[in-house]
């Protein structure tokens, strides 16, 4: 199944990355998903999704879930006539109707595959309405046949936000954080350090803005980009509003983190020297300690919040060996990291992400020590593979990100680490019992210990397990089977 052609050294462009099977399950999300996800952070932004019933139905469903039923998503569903003759007049009428009746502050029009396929020039249609409607019109095109994932939808939706901003007088030592998609930016190292140095964080886009505040983004004198999907927005804001930007690396490269802090310091005229000196030393010693434990351990890269190559490069730096890297799609900046990996003497298989079914058939053959990403913990445990899920590491910015990743690996935090922590005394009792059980297979032990909350039914079953019985017998007594 894994062909030598899939090796890293043979990957020159995106089309060289093959899916392990022709029939994919579940397949990647589409840019519509990315656009709706991003726009949903801004609670008072109105959306109009144009497409088939299917795309609009599921887009609406997703937005409702994201916004707890308070979404502002309209659907414009194409009919047979629109496919044949176009939908210009209908679309104009719909936008005017929404403008007159709902009076949204801004309307993000999201087009899907079919609209682009029939060649409807929605950009021109929106432009022609500019003087006719009060609402600001944004356009995001999300045809999935031109890309392989939802990322493009995220980028385009963020980029469009720039058109809501107007030039303003700059305030000194005021910054925006672009691309942070989680709650709790106040708890990040970067935020705290900026605050400590008297910097005002005007807004975090997209998670801490609404239609009113976003217009004031142009007051800031610097944009700090913490996720590459916000880079287009930063470039647009630089071009139209004259705000420079610094890319705060999402990658786990100590020197790049230092460089980012220094760049921010230069622009804002502040010094991060003591932070850099202290953290550089402590993180370096953490890295050396981790290397001792992880050297020569092999892994499959599934998915993380990081770039697949940058994250793998970080692990290779710790002496780990990549067997398979699953890649969403190749971007320009990947080339440099890919070459670096080759220079380090590794040559893993590179396959397309979001198609785990065929990979599951060869876990036994590949027998990696670790799997980084979302996968069934029980399936991995069957093959004695330790699951590491790094989703929570994306909530950190700065040196703390490296510390968090190392901690996640060394503590072997799996999928259950994402659940809310709830503990009871019974829980501790169960954990002690699991630790002492001799007959329980080690991977299963790890999975159970990694669960933050063990289901009640399982707790009782585990407390009454007799370690003298075989695992199969023990489960039979509890009417379970393997």
């Amino acid at each position: 199944m894994l062909n030598e052609k899939y090796r890293l050294t043979n990957i020159r462009e995106d089309k060289d990355i093959k899916s392990l099977s022709k029939a994919q399950f579940p397949g990647p999300h589409c840019p519509l998903f990315g656009a709706v996800m991003t726009a949903s952070y801004i609670e008072d932004l109105t959306l109009l999704i144009i497409g088939t019933e299917e795309c609009t139905y599921y887009g609406k469903d997703f937005a409702m879930i994201r916004q707890n039923g308070k979404d502002r998503v309209y659907s414009a569903v194409l009919e047979q006539h629109d496919i044949t003759f176009g939908c210009e007049e209908d679309l104009k009428d719909i936008i005017i109707k929404i403008d007159r009746e709902e009076k949204p502050k801004a309307l993000m029009v999201i087009t899907t595959c079919v609209v682009e396929l029939i060649g409807e020039d929605t950009t021109s249609i929106l432009r022609s309405l500019k003087d006719e409607v009060d609402t600001k019109l944004l356009i995001v095109k999300t045809e999935h046949f031109k890309c392989n994932s939802h990322i493009e939808g995220v980028e385009k939706a963020l980029e469009q936000l720039a058109s809501l901003m107007t030039p303003m007088e700059k305030k000194e030592k005021t910054v925006n954080i672009l691309g942070f998609k989680y709650l709790g930016v106040e708890n990040t190292e970067l935020y705290k350090e900026l605050k400590k140095n008297g910097v005002n964080i005007s807004m975090t886009i997209p998670t801490k803005v609404n239609m009113e505040t976003i217009q004031k983004a142009a007051e800031s004198s610097l944009n700090i980009v913490v996720e590459h999907t916000a880079l287009s927005l930063a470039k647009e804001m630089e071009k139209s509003l004259g705000i420079p930007y610094v890319i705060f690396p999402k990658a786990l490269d100590l020197d790049k983190i230092v460089e980012a802090y220094e760049q921010i310091g230069d622009i804002l005229d502040i010094k991060f020297d003591s932070l850099i000196n202290e953290k550089y030393k402590s993180v370096t010693s953490d890295l050396i300690a981790a290397e001792q434990l992880l050297k020569n351990k092999s892994f499959i890269y599934g998915n993380t919040p990081f770039s697949c190559f940058e994250f793998s490069d970080f692990l290779v730096g710790l002496g780990m060996v990549p067997i398979v890297i699953q890649c969403r799609e190749l971007v320009k900046s990947d080339r440099e990291v890919m070459d670096r990996l080759i220079d380090k003497g590794v040559n893993p298989y590179i396959v397309r992400m979001a198609n785990i079914a065929p990979l599951r058939r060869i876990y036994g053959e590949l027998s990696p020590d670790y799997y980084f990403g979302h996968e069934s913990p029980m399936i991995l445990a069957e093959h004695n593979i330790v699951q590491i899920v790094t989703d929570n590491c994306a909530k950190k910015i700065g040196f703390e990100k490296i510390t968090e990743v190392l901690g996640t690996i060394l503590e072997e935090k799996g999928i259950f680490s994402l659940l809310d922590e709830k503990k009871s005394t019974m829980e501790d009792e169960v954990r002690d019992k699991i630790k002492n059980l001799k007959n329980m297979p080690a991977p299963m032990k790890k999975v159970l210990l990694n669960m933050k909350e063990i289901p009640d039914g399982m707790k009782e079953a585990l407390l009454t397990l007799d370690d003298n019985d075989s695992m199969v017998e023990m489960m039979k007594n509890h009417r379970a089977s393997m």
Binding site: Q24, C30, E53, Y58, C87, I94, H144, K146
Partner: protein, 380 residues
């Protein structure tokens, strides 16, 4: 182009996929962009039904779209045939393949001699029909391509259900009540439902059943096909209310020429009759006794008939209705709405002992109506 503030009405393609996803061992390949498949697989969760059908996608890129390249679907069929070894592979296109004019029939022609699985093609998107049409068409395809291609079976004490799918609100409870009524009154077992908690083998053996019970209109045409092919009678009637359920049982008894097993204990039915009469008296005293249906295109004519017998009057203006029968989104935001159709929003409906069909369904429905009337009156 139609504008919707709430969810649009689901399309024929969605109905096709919802039908097939109720068949536990169905294997489906979609020829289109992957995002739609990903969304639709996640979308099944709203129904609260167990689904284990396997849906695969080929994905498509610009090259495939520009040149009408069929390689991806051909390769996917060959691969699934080899790896999954299903008896049937259901192949469905997408809005894109419909527009660019991919001929799935020619794809089948190219691969059918190279695979062991039988390939069943599903209809193209037509951009005009809703999901009920997709369900109807798929049920007919299942009859034509699976039941009728299998050997004719000797009749056994079984019945089939048609027109109840994972997308029907309350399907788990209604399914259970129908099975209970058939067992207790006729000692008959379920053969297949064609699209709910079933499998390919049961669909192949559908001709062994004595009767087909059509609960919603979507199953009617498939029932007619089965009648024509196997002389298998069907009944299209949904049991709502005590009288409605008795009529339903009597019709089945007549069609099968089978006596209904006498019930020893009538106390439960008598209790529901009493509650129905109390509700009729309440409705008669209401200043406003109008109700309206927003059923998202599912036909509820027998439920409507029952409600009008309780004394309610129909209105199409939701503002003047005291009770509305609608979807889960409306039910979330309005005190006077009883949910009868998808979509749902984080509303579980898995508990299988709250039917609205059958005797027990009448009991629960009367209670629901009474409580909704109270809430509606209080909120006025």
């Amino acid at each position: 182009m139609k504008l919707y503030k709430n969810n649009p009405i689901a399309s024929d393609r969605m109905g096709i996929l919802w039908t097939l996803n109720g068949i536990n061992d169905a294997v489906i390949i979609e020829f289109g962009p992957a995002g739609t498949t990903h969304f639709s697989i996640e979308g099944l969760m709203q129904f609260g039904a167990d689904t284990s059908a396997k849906t695969f996608t080929t994905h498509m890129d610009e090259h495939d779209v520009t040149f009408g390249n069929e390689d991806r679907i051909i390769d996917a069929i060959l691969e699934i045939d080899e790896i999954e070894k299903p008896e049937y592979i259901f192949v469905i296109g997408s809005s894109i393949t419909s527009i660019i004019g991919i001929d799935l029939e020619s794809v089948r022609f190219q691969v059918e001699d190279r695979v062991d699985s039988k390939i069943i093609l599903l209809p193209d998107c037509d951009f005009q029909n809703d999901f009920t049409h997709g369900v109807d068409e798929t049920l007919q395809i299942l009859v034509n391509e699976i039941t009728k291609k299998s050997p004719k079976m000797e009749k056994l004490p079984f019945y089939n259900i048609l027109g109840l799918g994972i997308y029907n609100y309350n399907q788990s409870s209604d399914f259970k009540e129908i099975k209970r009524l058939m067992k207790e009154n006729f000692s008959l077992e379920l053969g297949t439902t064609f699209m709910l908690d079933t499998n390919i083998k049961d669909i192949e053996q559908a001709s062994k059943a004595l009767i087909n019970i059509v609960l919603h209109k979507e199953g009617l045409e498939a029932a007619k096909l089965l009648e024509e092919a196997y002389d298998q009678p069907y009944i299209y009637l949904t049991p709502y209310g005590i009288e409605g359920t008795k009529k339903w049982l009597n019709s089945i008894s007549e069609l099968l020429n089978m006596e209904i097993t006498p019930t020893e204990d009538n106390s439960e039915i008598n209790r529901v009759v009493y509650k129905e009469n109390m509700l009729k008296r309440r409705v008669a005293r209401l200043d406003n006794n109008k109700l309206c249906f927003n059923n998202n295109n599912i036909s509820y004519k027998y439920l409507e008939e029952y409600l009008y017998k309780l004394g309610f009057k129909k209105t199409v203006d939701e503002r003047e209705a005291i009770i509305r029968f609608s979807d889960g989104i409306e039910a979330l935001h309005n005190q006077n709405v009883i949910q009868i159709s998808p979509p749902s929003f984080r509303q579980d409906n898995e508990y299988p002992y709250l039917p609205i069909m059958g005797y027990r369904g009448a009991y629960y429905l009367v209670q629901q109506i009474n409580n909704t009337l109270t809430k509606a009156e209080l909120s006025q």
